[in-house]
Symmetry: C2
Subunit: 377 residues, 2 copies
Amino acid sequence: MTQFSTEDLLDPPAYPSVGYAVLADQIGVVMRSFDDIVFVQAEAVVALEAVAASLAKPGLRVLNVVTSMYGDYFATWLRRGGADVENVVAKLGRPVELAAFQAALDAMEQVDVVVLVHGEAANGVLNPLPQIAEAAKARGALLVVDAVASIGAHPFEVQTLGIDIAVIGPQKGLGGPAGLSAISVSEAAWARIAEAPALRLSTLSLLDLKENWLDRGADALPGTPAPLEFWALDAALNRIDAEEDGIETVVERHQVAARATRAGLRALGITPWIEDDASASALVTAAPIPEGIVPEELVAATKAIEDAAISPGVGGVETLLVRLNHTGLRAAYRPVLANVVAYGRALASLGHEVDVDAAIEAVAKAYQDAEPAGSTE
Amino acid sequence: MTQFSTEDLLDPPAYPSVGYAVLADQIGVVMRSFDDIVFVQAEAVVALEAVAASLAKPGLRVLNVVTSMYGDYFATWLRRGGADVENVVAKLGRPVELAAFQAALDAMEQVDVVVLVHGEAANGVLNPLPQIAEAAKARGALLVVDAVASIGAHPFEVQTLGIDIAVIGPQKGLGGPAGLSAISVSEAAWARIAEAPALRLSTLSLLDLKENWLDRGADALPGTPAPLEFWALDAALNRIDAEEDGIETVVERHQVAARATRAGLRALGITPWIEDDASASALVTAAPIPEGIVPEELVAATKAIEDAAISPGVGGVETLLVRLNHTGLRAAYRPVLANVVAYGRALASLGHEVDVDAAIEAVAKAYQDAEPAGSTE
């Protein structure tokens, strides 16, 4: 059991220079990547902007999948650098449809880059990464994947899927710090970046990271690394290593949490916002806001159960769904049960009929069926 | 006495939304600023790039003081945005000369912005901020100051000096975390930023910080704030508040450390790299590398004393000077003495005659004279 005292955060030792390459290797293992891993010393949205700013050039043809505001952000960043961006926009709060993606791909004479968010914490979507990857590769396009809200919760295999650029943050599925992020970059991606107008001496320059760190032997990081963030990443990766099957155990824990949550919702008499289990995030589960229920009242009513963590959807779906959070330490029996019961009781209190007892039973059964990976503690 | 265990860094509580505005007020007190304070959720060099990127526009006329590579960086960032930048470049490792600055200022028909690094950790320089501020104000120019390596070590008064934009990081003189930074922005500066081509939806956009945080009541920060960094800032600012005279006590402690270090050097028989005490940093003291001494050998020889922290100068002065670090916890009798003795013994071991006993006496005397602010522990 850990403790938290803010005074203990003062005057930490510097993170040792030799440690960064070790952390990068551990990140590589988690992502199943054999490519270069570089660190961005800020939250993952900075890494995403850096990827876009470093790739963009006039005439670069990009097919960009939009399943939340992050897809819109990426298009903005790419266009700022002169790229031609074609968006394939999914229905609000829904995964991209493969037919729509394929049609958009087929309609493009040439495709240099395909961009996809794997999992969406904003609305609980999981996009069909393996199929998108196959289609992108078939067109010879570079594949860029935002895996910030899928790493640690879903299988994510950079090498197997041929992902050229993958961005992760440690603060969700990996249970690590929020103030740094990491990018896996393939040789083909470095070559493409080298073709763009050289963005140098910038927070947003991947070339700087390559020349000032990788090409200098991956020793001391450039700039002023934040020791707390790297020590916390170290601890989080070691905690994953200590699991029986490492990252696979962590992924399975999130998968069980999602299964139990979805079983609980169905037992309540509610169809999960994303009906198809294979298209649903294992970090958060989106539950619908039934007709006649006021979203703010629903969220407020869930606060009656302290252990629950339920918040409105983000990015245009605020009135359509709430998100039951089972990320990291919350991917466990008690928080999952608290979420389902809080959602169920809140609906009941607002006059919507649900079967809370059946939901409790369903969550417990999902955890029993999942032993031992999803132990009930 | 604090302890450090990396496991304690896992799963920190979120920093409370209501706390950010309180932290901003505390930063305002430390800077003596009545202006808006915004946080950049990354190390201070990101905040500096954001300032340049947010101010720059074609035709903006900037006088930029260069006393280390940071001045060069700032010119690069401003020019990227189309600004006309006039550099006034000091001699290597020296503060800017006021006559040279005034001549450069006089030579410009119009000056929109003056940019200055207050203190330089790279070479131990302290630039003449009050005089530069007065001259800049006399021309009606906006004044931008990088105070990352002076805050907490030298008096820094945003309001009194009329500084329009001041950038700080907590990790040096304030003894705080490295992974965030803060900017004080005057009304005139916001107006100037509003005239620039709107940089939006970017890590480097100050307008984003204004609209997404200040204008929304300075509640929850946008993005994914790193809790470890904000809790550590909280602890560091509270530690300063707990000092008898707050930030003034912290500044005096650094001033005493600098005085004692410089007295020690002179007693060794060495003239400090910066002869004028008023032009020297109180975070690091630059000591010369005497003729005939090989820089790498000097630095290596100082490692014989474990408590010393002596490193080569940075930014072209590597062969000219070493830096005796007395920043934060090191602004105290023992680390200061260790630095001076290590430097002296290293010189002696390389055949350069020095009086180490006299230096020990001089450091002790400087601390005795300074009681109680610079207590010998």
